[in-house]
């Protein structure tokens, strides 16, 4: 079965995802009655919310790079945040300094540090965060930044070898199957890693 990645297919996928995300209606932060009208909004396809229990990553300031849990929403710009075993003291932080993650803990608003610590340990949050793809990306970025000159040279050599092998594979595939007009096949950019030796893993820890 071949998938045809032409224009009509992409619009189909788009509309399907919007239909799937419309959920039951719910009032949002700003009270409707205050406005005088019943102001109803659906999720509009959003997955991550600023809410009590949301795990967030601090991307600015002294604590940047650390992960914390939103304990209570103060107003539209600030939240009370806590990270007992995560190295973040209980503090008020601006939402501008946070990036929300997918993780959400079941936590009552204003939860105390000790109770939060128990929940974090129970949910094994540190492990879950470490397993997420963005945490791995961050770790890889950090490793890449820590490379010394020799290691950078090694990386260059490995990249060159990989490129050679990939191009060789592509050339062979080209030679076997001649290109037909109107048919676009997804060409495997990443070579089948099981066939090739271990040199493709750059982070050699």
């Amino acid at each position: 079965l071949f998938f045809f990645f032409n224009d009509t297919a992409t619009t189909e996928i788009y509309t399907r995802s919007i239909v799937g995300s419309v959920r039951c209606v719910q009032e949002t932060g700003i009270n409707a009655e205050y406005m005088g009208i019943k102001y109803i909004r659906d999720y509009m396809g959003f997955k991550r919310f600023v809410q009590a229990g949301r795990v967030a990553y601090i991307n600015y300031g002294v604590d940047h790079g650390k992960v914390c849990v939103i304990v209570e929403v103060i107003n539209s710009t600030r939240v009370l945040v806590d990270g007992p075993t995560l190295g973040v003291p209980r503090q008020v932080i601006s939402l501008r300094r946070l990036a929300l993650t997918d993780h959400l803990l079941k936590v009552a608003k204003g939860i105390h540090t000790k109770s939060l610590e128990a929940i974090i340990k129970k949910e094994d949050l540190v492990k879950k965060i470490g397993e997420s793809s963005w945490a791995k990306k961050l770790a890889a970025q950090k490793r890449r930044a820590e490379l010394n000159d020799f290691e950078r040279f090694q990386v260059m050599m490995l990249k060159r070898q990989k490129a050679y092998l990939v191009n060789k594979d592509v050339a062979q595939t080209h030679a076997k199957k001649p290109k037909k007009a109107g048919k676009k096949e997804a060409k495997p950019k990443e070579a089948k890693s099981s066939q090739y030796p271990d040199i493709f893993h750059f982070t050699q820890n």
Partner: protein, 237 residues
């Protein structure tokens, strides 16, 4: 050229933008521990290093009385006042202004017995503060009741001053605080405050921009065009 190679601590606390030397700008994300410590020390205020607060004012308690006059039988009455001010100088000034207006005791005829700063415990819970104030507009005086969510009274006060300045062009000098209180959830008046007090409040974060994690890394000139939006996996599509 050697002095550029060796990283030296700055002599004075310069602003990042005024640190025009190339050495600071050329630094990549790999930071030496020394640099990071310098960053921390710079960003640390008097408060705990991780506190993020808008504190414009501090809370003071001033105790004063009229100077005892020779031949007076009774000791002059002692008055205690709670003042919100950015420093002790302004606190004293506010104290004597009100003593003069309300008790007919002038600064020259009075003495300040004590001035204490009231320091609240560090933020642990969010409260709703109700503030009754009186301010002078261009055409007259008005009373107001305002509510703010914050972890301490000084933070709520700072919010109030910013709010008044923004909404009514009322500067700090024209605002008099009549009364402050911590409002229990059942007695909250303002709909917006009530909606954020709700435990189920939630909203997505929109219009995100990426910025360097430390102000020091903010580059004056860049080779690339700025990124106007952050590609985040916030939606289903």
């Amino acid at each position: 050229f050697f002095f550029l190679m060796i990283r030296r601590p700055p002599r004075s606390t310069q602003g990042v933008s005024s640190a025009a030397s190339d050495v600071y700008k050329r630094q990549v994300s790999t930071q030496s521990t020394w640099d990071f410590q310098w960053c921390q020390r710079r960003s640390m205020g008097k408060e705990s290093k991780s506190q993020f607060s808008l504190k414009k004012v501090k809370q003071y308690i001033l105790v004063g009385r009229a100077k005892p006059v020779a031949g007076q039988k009774e000791e002059p009455k002692v008055y205690r006042m709670r003042v919100f001010a950015p420093n002790t100088v302004i606190a004293k000034s506010k104290f004597w202004t009100l003593m003069r207006k309300q008790k007919k005791i002038k600064h020259t005829g009075g003495e300040l017995i004590a001035i204490h700063e009231v320091i609240e415990n560090p933020s642990k819970s969010v409260k709703v503060y109700g503030i009754v104030l009186r301010y002078q507009s261009r055409t007259g005086y008005h009373n107001m009741y305002k509510e703010y969510r914050d972890t301490n009274i000084c933070g709520a006060m700072s919010q109030m001053y910013m709010d008044m300045a923004g909404r009514h062009r009322a500067r700090e000098e024209t605002i008099h605080i009549v009364r402050t209180c911590v409002v229990p959830e059942s007695k909250i008046k303002r709909a917006e405050t009530k909606s954020f007090t709700n435990g189920n409040v939630k909203f997505p974060l929109l219009n995100r921009i990426s910025r360097p994690p430390i102000k020091k890394f903010k580059a004056f000139a860049r080779a690339k065009r700025p990124t106007l939006f952050l590609q985040q996996n916030n939606s289903d599509s």
